[in-house]
Amino acid sequence: MPAPIRLRELIRTIRTARTQAEEREMIQKECAAIRSSFREEDNTYRCRNVAKLLYMHMLGYPAHFGQLECLKLIASQKFTDKRIGYLGAMLLLDERQDVHLLMTNCIKNDLNHSTQYVQGLALCTLGCMGSSEMCRDLAGEVEKLLKTSNSYLRKKAALCAVHVIRKVPELMEMFLPATKNLLNEKNHGVLHTSVVLLTEMCERSPDMLAHFRKVRKLSFSQLVPQLVRILKNLIMSGYSPEHDVSGISDPFLQVRILRLLRILGRNDDDSSEAMNDILAQVATNTETSKNVGNAILYETVLTIMDIKSESGLRVLAINILGRFLLNNDKNIRYVALTSLLKTVQTDHNAVQRHRSTIVDCLKDLDVSIKRRAMELSFALVNGNNVRGMMKELLYFLDSCEPEFKADCASGIFLAAEKYAPSKRWHIDTIMRVLTTAGSYVRDDAVPNLIQLITNSVEMHAYTVQRLYKAILGDYSQQPLVQVASWCIGEYGDLLVSGQCEEEEPIQVTEDEVLDILESVLISNMSASVTRGYALTAIMKLSTRFTCTVNRIKKVVSIYGSSIDVELQQRAVEYNALFKKYDHMRPALLERMPVMEKVTTNGPAEIVQTNGDTETAVLETKPPPSGLQPANQANDLLDLLGESDITPVIPTAPTSKPASAGGELLDLLGDLNLSGSPVSAPAPQIAQPPFLLDGLTSPPLFNDIAAGIPSITAYNKNGLKIDFTFERSNTNPSVTVITIQASNSTELDMTDFVFQAAVPKTFQLQLLSPSSSVIPAFNSGTITQVIKVLNPQKQQLRMRIKLTYNHKGSAMQDLAEVNNFPPQSWQ
């Protein structure tokens, strides 16, 4: 058998491959050669073969058959063999393979070897992939090596100790005595690794932390002064060639020490006091012309912010961040914006000073910087600067990328709601957002806006006029058109009569108004929801307008035979209103009463970047991408901000005009509407006034063992979600809900995410779902278990949010589930 080729040859051959298939072929041939060579138990070339195997593993090909060979190499006496063997072990083996335990004895022997390099290799490998059993066995050896005088070994032993502590936290006390002397070393390598070890210990166990902070009874000095001394030496000492990086002496060690100081000083006054001087010194003396200096300053700023520092120091830190913002280097600006975001809650005023620079960053080209600047801007909006900031933010909304528009629009709404100086300004701002980013606004922006408009009674004429002008030009943005048609329906008489205090009144005739509404109805761009709005608006105008009632009747009767079931139903019912129940028409189509305001938990949610809230407990699956889902989760909570009042706001755009009062529902129920295709009014009476889009009638089928009827919580666009209930025997206030999601369309729904929120008095726990793909044609379902704790036995309500990919586009929907059967919560 010819000698196997060297690693270099192999690499050269692979590089000549032109396609992926060629490369795979070469690799397979070589793998076969290696396997036969292994079978022959050839000692001389084993090392070479394993090296080649590791290379192929790095390229992504399976290499598990080499694991035993690695072990044999480790056991050999030659250093080159051991080296490759340990490298192979680090890369190919991990705790999951059973073979790794065989290594324990080898490592133990090598830890006591005479050559330091072999000991070093063993330490590296143990520190890389040691499992908890191995660590337990070998911790004693590691601790012994931590005390040797050989600095090469000491630093490796310290890193290995870090790994041991991570795997087996109970062994931490074993390493404690050894750490006493570690910081007395001169060698920076040892210093660095020991600081890492101390950091790990302090992070893991609060007892250790307390121990390190206290004064020790023996003559060893305290930890914090020791660290301060080392740091001072680093800064003050002159040029030392072996540790120098662009003029600064060992910045990596400086950064590590600063981080450890941060952990020690958090929430502890004494330690913080001891550090104040050195932090001020570092902050002022470090050179900022190079990136290195900036890295150290960044770490210093983070430390100052975290410990209990005096106010002068904090101001210094924020000024440093402000200086960073003006720097040309993008990295530094990004880092400054991130830190300012963290500190804006505590030091709000200081950050305000830099507001103009932050707003300038909105215009930057870089995506990460823009996102950070946007979040920070929302956090900085307050009563004084709201007009200016809004102008900038609206301009930003015009020009930013689509991925930002949704967040920006929601942020603007919340900020406007909290700080609007006048109602007119508020309405103007919202209209501006709708016209620029109309398709990206959240679903509930429309009802919120409608509610806002009804509340500002004096602005009705102005509002309807502006909305009319807006959709005259362009009726493609659905939310805008929905709001506009609703308003025209309600206040059409004000529009036609031409009275408007705020603005120049325009002359509009009734026919023109009907024209625009009809074109919305006919247009292909209108969603069916929008059409519903338009039809209802036309109907309402029949009582407000005087000379065009016949035209309205004609339009309504045309849609009595429309293909869209929703429109057809409405048209038929309105027709019936005209024919048989004309006497009731004015009463039914009266102006809407002023709606109660639901307070949203506004900007507080946006500022907290990690989405922690203290309101209703919400558990969702881990968000797929950074911040945005956290904001959406907060939005879900916002909507449930009220706990008890039955909200009167219509959450569904397709609600009929009679959603304002239960008595109207009763009226419609009593009417014997002939010719209506579905007995739709009847089930709607049984439901609470909270009509919900797509919610079918309550239990259609009986449930299983528990005896509690199950419900269909959501049924729209082919996605159906059923809830089945069980009460826990052990704890009577726990209800276990199993949801089943099924898909009746012809394409699968992928990346399905189910989120839920409950009012404050409940607690919710969401377990993992069975999968995230719902197969088509009802061929399979996704199951997920929700546990609800209801100690006060209140009526169970839940708001759910669904996101999924269907037919290549991402869909999302919010829905409220109210039809929980009483047995599930009583």
């Binding site: 590791l54 960044y298 990295n331 990004y334």
Partner: protein
């Protein structure tokens, strides 16, 4: 904590990879291609820190080679940026004017 350390060239070939957390082998190649796609699409005057899934990428370009380090939220990004440069300087000293070829051929030496 550093999650991984990659050296990938512009054509997407991995020259060196070191993972400090367990990642399945087929997921590794996917991760590498996605990461390099993100880095390639950045222009020269955009900042070197990208947010990707639940961690951050710090990347630096040297001629045709990208060095990418994946870190989690607790790390100082600028310090890692410096670390990358320090690593390259060390390689430079070791190989005296290192180039991509040196990196591809001396994989085991660099790894250790």
């Amino acid at each position: 904590m550093i999650k991984f350390f990659l050296m990938v060239n512009k054509q997407g070939q991995t020259r060196l990879s070191r993972y400090y957390e367990h990642v399945e082998i087929n997921k590794r190649t996917m991760l590498e291609t996605e990461v390099i796609k993100n880095c390639l699409s950045r222009s020269k005057d955009e900042c070197s820190f990208i947010e990707y899934k639940d961690f951050k990428l710090v990347y630096r370009q040297y001629a045709a080679l990208f060095i990418v380090v994946g870190i989690d939220q607790t790390e100082n990004e600028m310090a890692v940026y410096e670390l990358i440069h320090n690593f390259v300087e060390v390689l430079d000293k070791y190989f005296s004017r290192v180039s991509e070829l040196d990196v591809s051929f001396s994989v085991s030496e660099i790894r250790l």
